[in-house]
Symmetry: D2
Subunit: 315 residues, 4 copies
């Protein structure tokens, strides 16, 4: 059976894996990301691939990275967490390792992995996935293929307008969904709640050493599971907004399945309950018409490696 390699280039780690034709990871490795240094980041990617290729018959390499990738899947136009600007990553790595390479947006890669081997594996045609990290990423599959857009930058779901004149986004606009349904939003809501009503955030504040400003995403998950009201409400708030955006996607693309990924899905129904209620409310107009179900992603952190490898296989 042929093997391909997937590399997931994050802001802190470069993770690589050898993946077989059934989506199984047969070997893995990881390095720290020297994020500030363009040349060194490339070198680390090449190190990872070289290590994984050794002694194996590998067909191709897929690389997933946060940022805008051009339509030919060769060049990283812009990466928010790395120093890359118009970086011809495909050519560079391909030359160095002597294998075909594709470069793809990280949220697209994760969506592809979930479509092929994860939560949406029973969907043969279409899915839309929101990946909730510090920001909000998106991936769209239609007709069994990733939608990449005429200019390579489709599925920028994080910047759908959600609240006109709402919370200011890093992109300059006010009110993008990224300001209401991201990990950063979760933290913002939880900190505000803990500051205003500390007696309703006992577990959160204990985890954070008494300092609302020290509250982190994982603390919110832990506290919400343990029954902390403010933590649970922070999940309910992002779920409420996520549900309306998922309803918009159902109305725009009517996919077979909707998937929610990212670390926040560890919170389970604390997130997905409010999400599904908000989704159902927003679709009430559709009455009895069938719509996609909302499923949590299943592959977790390995989605990046699996999806990148699988996309490389399709070269």
């Amino acid at each position: 059976m042929t093997l391909t390699i997937g590399v997931d280039v994050g802001g802190t780690k470069v993770a690589g894996g050898v993946v077989d034709a059934t989506g199984v990871v047969v070997a893995q490795t990881r390095r720290d990301t020297p994020a500030a240094d363009v040349g060194k980041t490339r070198d680390v990617i090449i190190e990872v691939v070289t290590e994984l290729v050794a002694g194996r018959d590998v067909d191709a390499v897929g690389i997933g990275a946060a940022g805008w990738i051009d339509a030919t899947r060769s060049t990283v136009l812009f990466a928010p967490n790395l120093a890359w600007r118009d970086e011809p990553l495909r050519a560079y790595v391909s030359t160095a390792v002597g294998l075909p390479v594709i470069v793809e947006n990280d949220a697209n890669v994760a969506a592809w992995a979930e479509f092929r081997y994860g939560a949406a594996r029973d969907a043969e045609d279409s899915m839309v996935m929101f990946t909730i990290g510090t920001g909000v990423g998106g991936g769209i599959v239609l007709g069994g293929e990733l939608v990449r857009g005429a200019h390579g930058i489709a599925a920028e779901l994080g910047h759908m307008l959600t609240v006109p004149d709402g919370h200011q986004c890093g992109c300059g606009r006010l009110g993008c969904i990224e300001q209401y349904a991201s990990g950063n939003a979760l933290v913002r809501f939880a900190r505000a709640g803990a500051r205003q009503e500390p007696t309703r955030a006992p577990i959160l504040l204990e985890l954070a050493g008494g300092e609302a400003e020290a509250i982190s995403g994982p603390m919110i998950t832990t506290a919400a599971r343990a029954g902390d009201p403010v933590a649970a409400e922070a999940f309910a708030q992002i779920g409420r907004w996520l549900g309306t955006s998922l309803a918009d996607m159902a109305q725009i693309l009517d996919p077979q399945v909707l998937v929610v990924g990212g670390g926040v899905v560890d919170a389970g129904d604390l997130l997905l309950g409010p999400t599904r209620r908000s989704y159902a409310d927003a679709l009430a107009a559709r009455g009895r018409l069938p719509v996609a179900e909302i499923l949590p992603a299943e592959l977790g952190n390995t989605a990046g490696v699996i999806g990148a490898a699988d996309l490389a296989r399709r070269l």
Copy 2:
């Protein structure tokens, strides 16, 4: 050259045409729609087809109708302006006229016509179209095909959430784009403006016989072109909202072209100027990245006939 027939079933008229393989309408006819009577509406469709078929070698029939059509393009699940509920229109007409038939949503049909022969004919792959009538309809083409969705009801663009807790929509939700960028919204904005500031709506009020409540869509176009401030502002308001929704579509699907259709495009830059400014503002975050241009639809009222006939040809 083979011929197909397109039928556009509206709330007031049933229009039919014979269309050749280059999108040219070679013959046409029309009847009034007996909208309240399911059986008679079917009969009128059959009359129109029968008249057009006479003496011609026709391959197939396409029917466009407002409403939700099932995924097999056979049954009208629900039509807001007609009495149809779960109407098996395809089987009925096909049996009656002895030709293959497809049924398609009217906004999809119009989008398909513009993609093949109209404003987006130079786009070989993708477009998104908003059709502004009394409501807001949508059509999406990706990979050279209409996106119909897993349940046949994709491209319900009129019900994207635009203003949370905003103006109540007929669908039950508050704040759908249909309440901000439709012909009905245009009329609502113009009437409110004329009531509040009659001195700034001199032409509008003259056309409406002095009664703000008598202002209609065509009056607003006429008055805006003649320089009436309130009429121009009504177009600017719907353009502002339309621009933000078009920006959302660019970020979600990144199509080659964006098209705006419906009677309002007769207002030209009075509508498209504010639409493009709002679109550019909303995309400012993308900086220098290329995006789709916004074009006015070109085929006007014949889009329904041409698009339905062309979809039938592809059976």
Copy 3:
């Protein structure tokens, strides 16, 4: 003990009463309002006063009417439900009945009655009252006196901006509180709910003969009390918005008491529960600081007569 007369001029009824110095109504009468005829409306007011004066020692007459009253409390500048435009009502009635007369806005009159003899009678200094009728009216008492404004038109609380770009108001603006917390809004929310989810509006729809469009305000109160989910949610929706506006008033004026009046208060906690929760949420920022309590009005329909008579007493 001296007596004064209060007259409450509504769109359908002219109600009059003789009120003593303790706020007790000692005699009453009422007539239908000939709303379309300015002269006849005045005549009916005079008839009512003349009937009530007969055989009594009356000091003065107060008239409450919907609309904008000038700062000298003499002239009705504009009345939405009556034909009055710049109507010098004070002079006309005073001449006819030979008594001092004042004219006051109906929501101000009701607020004054509640301040003196109703829900806020224990407050010696300040209150703010929202009166929920078809629209939303307001009354403000500070320093033991009605706040009438520099131009006589203070306390137009119904047109506070609540949702930017929200539901269009009769005043021309989008998003006034009147579109979210009035009786009309209650009916709009309930009808939309019953159309979208008829199975959750069984009692409402039975009361309305199966027609969502036939749902009226009193039906919603009846149905909500009987457990109809859509009816209860309609009250919760207006309560939610009312609570945020009450919180704004607490932050602007910090009154001793906040009062909610109008027919909707018959719904009791179905309205006031959500109102108080929304109010508390909006004031969470204040932490432990004391704020006004929200009380339901107590005088019902007689507030207009009592308040107008009491204001006349203070001439």
Copy 4:
């Protein structure tokens, strides 16, 4: 003529002045604020008063400070920029200097100064003032007296709800006017504009050494006056929101005059032009009815000293 002393306790400076009965400052002094130290801040206030009293016949002392002051104007309940919590400032200073003392909220003090001797000196009865600093403060005068509220905390105008679900406020709520019309909002809007469209912010970026994040309020005023588009738009944005809040105040309190104060008024019509347009639009519903004019504050930084001294005179 009798003299009183006003002290303006800010986060960085304690300014004091001797003021005569016509509002003229006849002597001044200032010290740095030891903001983190409760005891030292009190000592500095006493030093300032002692220095100013020397050799003069002073009747009373007024102290203005940011924060919530209790209804008896004795105790600072909470001060955002100082270490005070339930600080009995009146008793402490009065004992130390042997004079009657009142403590008042700083925005109230500034409003009082403008009402008596500044922009609103021709208004004998009522005004509402918004003070735009890093946050948004408010002051209300009705019947010739400051409105202090039943619990001493009226005129918290900065926390009026402006955009439901809008930008998160330090108070915990989303969408307070303070997030849309404050100096902080001005800086936020300008920085976002300069990041997204640097070519439209040439002067701003030059002043900020090329770093959008280094843009400050005074730079925005300078750049806007010199024609920088992004800087001008930042003023237009806060003016737009300020105008709608001023319209709300006109509809709630109908004062004789509306005043806008704080450093931003140095921008003149760059701020007040958009503010007045937004105000007029929001009031369009009122048609021809008279409303308050919007005036810029006139006393600048000395308003705090003058207002505090004048309030002390009225003890």
